[in-house]
Amino acid sequence: MIELKNITKKYEINKNNTITALKNINIKIGEGELVIIKGSSGSGKSTLLSLIAALSKPTSGEVIVDSKRISKLPDNFASDFRQNNIGFIFQKYNLINSLSVRDNIILPLIPMNLNIDVLNTKLQNVIKMFHIEHKENVLVKNLSGGEQQRVAIARANINSPKIILADEPTANLDEKLSLAFIEILKELKFQGKTIIIATHDPLFFNFNIVDKEIKIYQGSIS
């Protein structure tokens, strides 16, 4: 269960100027739900995702995940929270281009210092699930856009998080790849993951697996 209570997020540009990216947001998302957050550019979608991932803190209000107050966590606990609960699929994938597919995917596991067999099992699971096993040792920069996204998705899933956050996942994909992504979403939803997608891609709208659509306009829910 993810709950946002009276969330306001302001960015300070300089002493006299602040931007209010989010205003009085209240959202409840149940476990296993697939939620779409839509809204035009600059409306505050990414900001919302970063608050849920504890990547930033709200100016006021609370973010509660499984009865834990994420918005009040000290930095180290926020890192641990992300490590154990969140898989983030970034709009620009944010892979390390000069590392291999394998090395990119295992990045979230590195601080855990796992036994090598455990690590390899987890790795094999995700590279098979997202169909990139044949590219395991290829450098990421030599992959196509669609393959790169699958690597990013594999990385987000390697530690079996309960919550998947995706920011504009289809922005850099053609229609065929976008549809393939939808298939992946179905699979993840089938596994019981809570999925939150920020997008303005009409492909997602009125889509049967979507449980909830939240529309943001200039920082407020409309």
């Binding site: 990547l55 930033s56 930095d75 969140i86």
Partner: protein
């Protein structure tokens, strides 16, 4: 924080270094050169300091010379008896010594004449005296002298040219090494009579007289007394000698300091460059790592390994190179800066002085500073809100 080393983190650090091959290579080279310079300078200074201390220890309390119009003349041997009458003086030993200029190699040798039956003015000479055959025209030579003579094909004997132009042939009966190379290196030891012959010095004369005074507190007063009683003498105390030795050394440590500062300066430029920020690429990477669940300390540990690998490797390499450079190759170029004054003397060998403190000093001047320089900028961006990466 677990104390177990995280191999994945180390692997990640190594990968990071390899990913930036050129940068890593460049920084390693620069660091190695700096550490090499620093270490060489320290090793040479240590060697010279070691030599100098040993030399200072063996200095006589007072040397009396005959001086007229500011110039130094041979002194009468009888003077030794006069000096012995002064209370507090334990012994007064006339010395016969001087420089011999060897034209072929444009070097000065120091010839020291010793008397078979008299007490020697220095402990090291006592030892040498027992190995010298006084019945023949033979001599013992220092290592540096030996090197130069054999280079000029004088392996068994050497022909000295006396002031009147005639030749004095002396057999080389052995090579000695004394406690300090600085003074023994250019030295030739022979019987006092042979030395007199080569210098054309009458037997009633000596070069100077060494006065031994057991009580250190009396040195100054006795020196003054000698000067008063014998106005035609120049009295040099141990302290005077020390000062002149140390002046030579200080002048050199000034140069050494200059080098040191240059190294540090360059070192800090690198550090400044590192501190002035991460590239946007590096910042993004730190943000990504945090976003996927790394703690600040994980990021910093990885950076620590990166810095440690580079700087410790450079430290070992720089140290190794400087040991080879100083002790095997005898520090070409650099050595001349430090011991320029001995240009007219045979070059002496830098003795091996192993000193953990120096190694530690070089370590602390390089490795932790460099590691700090790699960690601080990462720490700055790792503690910022990580939400930048999602944009």
């Amino acid at each position: 924080m677990s104390s177990k080393i995280n191999i994945y983190l180390v692997e990640y650090a190594i990968n990071s270094l390899l990913r930036q091959k050129h940068k890593t290579f460049f920084i390693t080279i620069i660091l190695t050169i700096l550490i090499f310079l620093l270490s060489s300078v320290f090793l040479i200074t240590n060697s010279i300091k070691h030599e100098l201390n040993a030399t200072l220890k063996s200095l006589p309390e007072i040397i009396v010379q005959k001086s007229k119009a500011g110039r130094h003349y041979d002194i009468d041997i009888d003077m030794a008896d006069n000096l012995l009458n002064i209370t507090g003086v334990k012994s007064a030993i006339p010395r016969v010594w001087g420089y011999y200029y060897f034209y072929n190699s444009k070097t000065n040798f120091s010839i020291v004449g010793i008397d078979e039956y008299e007490e020697q003015y220095k402990d090291t000479l006592e030892k040498i005296a027992t190995t010298l055959d006084f019945s023949k025209d033979s001599m013992l030579i220092g290592k540096g002298v030996n090197r130069i003579m054999s280079k000029n094909y004088y392996k068994e004997y050497f022909n000295f040219i006396k002031p009147d132009g005639s030749i004095k042939k002396m057999e080389i009966s052995g090579v000695f090494s004394a406690d300090t190379e600085l003074e023994s290196n250019d030295m030739i030891v022979m019987s006092i009579n042979n030395a007199r012959e080569i210098f054309d010095m009458p037997s009633a004369h000596a070069t100077d007289i060494v006065v031994k005074i057991p009580n250190v507190d009396e040195i100054a007063t006795i020196a003054q007394k000698i000067k008063q009683q014998y106005p035609d003498t120049k009295v040099i105390t141990k302290d005077d000698l020390k000062i002149s030795y140390q002046n030579i050394f200080n002048y050199k440590s000034g140069l050494f300091l200059a080098l040191f500062i240059i190294s540090l300066f360059t070192f800090f430029i690198i550090i400044y460059d590192k501190l002035s920020g991460l590239s946007s690429e590096e910042k993004r990477e730190v943000g990504v790592l945090k976003a996927i669940g790394w703690r600040v300390e994980d990021v910093l540990k990885a950076k620590f390994y990166e810095g440690f690998i580079v700087s410790f490797f450079a430290y070992l390499l720089g140290l190794l190179l400087s040991f080879a450079f100083v002790y095997i190759f005898q520090a070409p170029l650099l050595k001349n800066i430090f011991i320029g004054y001995s240009e007219l003397k045979p070059s002496f060998e830098l003795p091996f002085v192993f000193d953990i403190q120096t190694l530690a000093l070089i370590f602390f001047l390089s490795v932790p500073i460099y590691i700090a320089a790699t960690i601080i900028p990462s720490w700055r961006s790792a503690t910022l809100e990580a939400d930048e990466v999602i944009r």
